[in-house]
């Protein structure tokens, strides 16, 4: 959504139209600068190889989940089951591999199938049974939780070292997992910008009725989003397995569900759907990762981190909201209190002799 260009309007207006995505990346830059200064005051360097690696590796896990979450949120849905899907996936991966490098491909396929299947359930419950996504995915999460608690009394399975590389190796300063996450992100961006289903996600989120009347099978789009979201969570589960060397059910306690939603919203995607994108989400994830690293370097009390994170998320969204309000009021015909009024911006007009038909931009 960053390409929207106002055809008419003053330069001032055009500047204000700076896309949400750009703004998030600017915010990321801001956070980096401020963080770097704070870290420098502590006589350290935020951009050292070690710290850069740290930032990047912290972003990968949340990144996967948030990419998926972006898709469902764009469709005006929500997925609160991602944490459980991650946990289940890590267990399926580790128990399927069971230490045998030859079984890695099998495990990956199994994880993606199971995760996709859960996404399918989520999507069908939301689109066919018309259960509010909040409740639907919360319920599905509980069901998975019941299964996990019954089936696994603790970490299970073993991941061969070849697959652990996914969690631990690096290419230069870039962890492999982050690289994969970025590749998935690019794939997601292309998906949204280049495929019909991607286009239709914006439509379904923007207005399901409009989408339906335009011949879009909204149910399928929504289900697709949920399937992709769960698959992304499944990949996150694979990463967990690689990093843990085993599968762990307790991942669901780590709050990735709400954190991923926070990252998506921080990334400028509208919680009500229809606007936003993955590029912004990645910036949102990176902002959270930078904060984490900076807090760690500065040895900020972990509870203070929660306070700051809560504040920052709310503040960021407040800023986006402000921009939104400004934009609505952007049609100025008579500036301030000048009294005699400025000139009307030449609105786009039908090609007819009648002058000044004000079909101006709203």
């Amino acid at each position: 959504m960053s390409r929207a260009v106002a055809v008419t309007g003053t330069g001032k207006e055009a500047r204000r139209r700076l896309g949400a995505t750009e703004l998030v990346w600017l915010a990321l830059a801001g956070v980096l600068v401020i963080g770097a200064i704070l870290v420098a005051l502590d006589d350290q360097n935020l951009f050292s190889i070690a710290n850069t690696r740290d930032i990047l590796s912290r972003s990968s896990l949340l990144g996967f989940v948030a990419i998926g979450q972006t898709l469902v949120i764009l469709c005006r849905s929500l997925d609160l089951s991602v944490g459980y899907v991650m946990a289940l996936s890590s267990l399926i991966a580790a128990t399927t591999m069971n230490g045998d490098p030859a079984r890695v491909p099998l495990a990956i396929v199994a994880v993606l199938l199971v995760a996709g299947g859960i996404g399918l359930c989520n999507g069908l419950i939301v689109s066919v049974l018309k259960v509010n996504p909040f409740i639907a995915t919360l319920g599905v999460g509980l069901i998975i939780k019941g299964y996990l608690d019954t089936e696994y009394q603790g970490p299970a399975g073993a991941v061969p070292s070849s697959f652990q590389q996914f969690g631990f190796s690096r290419i230069g300063p870039i962890p492999v997992s982050t690289l994969v996450m970025l590749i998935v992100a690019v794939a997601g961006i292309l998906f949204l910008r280049k495929t019909r289903t991607g286009y239709h996600m914006f439509a379904v989120g923007g207005s399901a009725d409009v989408a339906r009347l335009s011949g879009i099978r909204t149910g399928r789009v929504l289900v697709t989003a949920h399937v992709l979201c769960s698959i992304a969570a499944g990949i996150a589960g694979l990463l967990i397995a690689a990093r843990f060397g085993t599968g762990s059910a307790l991942v669901y306690n780590s709050g990735y569900d709400l954190e991923s939603i926070a990252a998506v919203v921080l990334g400028g995607t509208l919680l009500l759907g229809g606007r936003g994108g993955i590029a912004g989400t990645i910036a949102g994830v990176l902002i959270l990762a930078v904060l984490d690293t900076v807090f760690n370097i500065l040895a900020v009390d972990p509870f203070f981190k929660d306070v700051l994170r809560g504040t920052i998320i709310v503040a960021a969204v407040a800023i986006y909201a402000r921009r939104q309000i400004d934009r609505k009021a952007s049609r100025v015909r008579f500036g301030g209190d000048g009294g005699s009024g400025g000139s009307a911006p030449p609105g786009p007009r039908p090609d007819q002799p009648t002058p000044e038909l004000a079909g101006g931009p709203r």
Binding site: A211, R275, G341, D351, E356, R362
Partner: protein, 504 residues
């Protein structure tokens, strides 16, 4: 475009269409024929079933009975997409655009052109541009975000979208409801172009003028049943109205009630201005109806909003009954004795999931909570005097027809016993019968000495009801005309065409 059909070919034949919702039959065996190259008007009161019929044709609803034949072949559209693929496209009554997406994305929504399975944005833009050029809409750009367009612009995008399907049949459900006369002209030209190409157009409107201007034949529905299909040239507007309403309507605009006389100035704006408006001077006397005319976006609604505290006047003064009024919120305006019937009924006027009763007493609850219950006792009386048709006061308003919804909005404001009332497009999208009821109500109010400011895009209404007409152009008062002015003068002022003859 599939083959050029001769004007007489019957493209579409609907026979005995039946439809019911929740056990209530809303269409009783309706027949309809559409010929290539004709404009076929469909009229009827609110709730007559026009939109329902159209949605059956569009594949949004499925008929319970009856048949649809396209080119002599029986068809059944299970989904809007199938209708579109068969060359039937529809401009629906409600807007069907995504404000956050571009014109091109909206036009091609659901069938974006692809190359190698990927969306070909370049071609999409090029095709949209070609389509727009073809219709002479060069000022509209494919990459404009729809939310930045005016209502008229959005309406045009809707029509372009319908056209882009290579449609042989286009149905339009009140396409002009949101347009000012000036933009209606543009639509006329589009329709003429389509006719030339042999497209059959099914046209729903409550504006009789358009029916006579545009249509070749007209089908009249009443209570879901077919009344008649006639050639437009064979019928007068009185007859048409009689068929539609089931009774003759003597004079469309009721006369002033005896004893109505313009009293003191109740509502007064001096030099009002803000970002949208400048130098607004306006007086409305008790017992007087003043109309605000102007083109789309000329600032009429803005005046209403500024008066009512939704927006502000940053300059100038407003007085109500001599007392200065600086409403910073609707609440303050209501307290001062002002009422505003908004132009967007569903978006701004009603809480659709709530009952008629809850809607009708909402203002009382919000502004005068202490006297709400007492005030609410008046409401049943008001509703029945408005001849509201409903299944009881606990019915949710979303199930009411447009005209009845408007009556609920009016009742809500009348319950506050306002000193002055602003009516923004009070008859938009409502049928003749309901319109007449609204006009009568306005006469009654002015007989009681209420100051009425009416905003309207329908010139006949402005000319028929107003004691004075204030014409707005570009946020400024372009001139003031007495009752009995003619359409040309008003339009001239509104467009700024021939400014000589009018006084400022």
């Amino acid at each position: 475009m599939t083959g050029v059909a001769s004007p007489a070919t019957t493209l579409l034949r609907m026979r005995g269409i039946e439809k019911s919702f929740l056990g209530v039959q809303v269409l009783h065996g309706v027949d309809l024929d559409l010929r290539a190259g004709e404009v076929h008007a469909l009229i009827g009161e609110n709730g007559a079933g026009k939109s329902t019929l159209m949605k059956i044709l569009a594949g949004v609803y499925q008929a319970d009975g009856g048949s649809v034949e396209l080119d002599g072949e029986q068809v059944r559209f299970e989904h809007p997409l199938l209708a579109q693929q068969a060359g039937v496209s529809t401009v629906f009554q409600e807007f069907n655009l995504l404000p956050e997406r571009t014109v091109a994305e909206n036009v091609f929504l659901g069938r974006e052109p692809r190359r190698n399975r990927l969306v070909d944005a370049g071609r999409m833009h090029a095709d949209t541009a070609a389509l727009l050029d073809d219709l002479g809409l060069t000022w509209l750009r494919p990459e404009t975000r729809v939310s930045s367009l005016s209502v008229a612009g959005q309406q045009i995008v809707e029509i372009v979208k319908a056209l882009s399907y290579d449609a042989r049949i286009i149905s339009m459900d009140e396409p002009t409801a949101a347009l000012a006369d000036e933009e209606v002209e543009l639509l006329y030209r589009l329709v003429a172009k389509l006719k030339e190409r042999g497209v059959a157009i099914l046209y729903v409107s409550h504006r009789l003028k358009e029916i006579f201007d545009l249509s070749d034949r007209v089908t009249i529905l009443k209570d879901g049943a077919l009344v008649d299909t006639v050639a437009t040239s064979d019928i007068t507007s009185d007859e048409l109205v009689r068929k539609m309403v089931g009774r003759p309507i003597a004079s469309f605009f009721p006369d002033k009630l005896p004893g109505t006389e313009a009293g003191d100035v109740r509502l007064e704006i001096r030099g009002g201005g803000n970002e949208q408006l400048d130098g607004i001077d306006l007086d409305v006397r008790g017992g007087e109806i003043v109309a605000l005319a102007g083109l789309q976006g000329s600032g009429r609604t803005e005046i209403a909003h500024a008066l009512f505290g939704v927006d502000r006047f940053t300059r100038g003064t407003v007085r109500l009954d001599g007392r200065p009024l600086t409403a910073r919120s609707p609440r303050q305006a209501v307290r001062a004795g002002l009422a505003l019937v908004t132009e967007d009924r569903k978006g701004e006027g009603l809480v659709l999931n709530q009952s008629i009763a809850a809607n009708a007493r909402l203002v009382l609850d919000a502004v005068l909570p202490r006297r709400a219950s007492q005030g609410a006792r008046r409401i049943p009386g008001i509703l029945s005097s408005l001849e509201l048709v409903s299944r009881g006061s606990s019915q949710e308003v979303r199930f009411l027809s447009g005209g009845n919804q408007q009556k609920v909005v009016l009742a809500k404001w009348l319950a506050t016993e306002p000193k002055a009332i602003v009516l923004d497009e009070p008859t938009r999208g409502i049928d003749v019968g309901a319109k007449e009821r609204v006009y009568t109500l306005m006469r009654e109010l002015s007989a009681q000495g209420v100051a009425i400011l009416m905003i309207s895009s329908e010139l006949p209404e402005v000319l028929g009801m107003a004691d004075r007409i204030v014409v707005l152009r570009d946020g400024r008062v372009a001139g003031e005309l007495p009752a009995g002015a003619d359409e040309e003068t008003v339009m001239a002022l509104a467009t700024g065409h021939e400014t000589e003859g009018t006084q400022r």
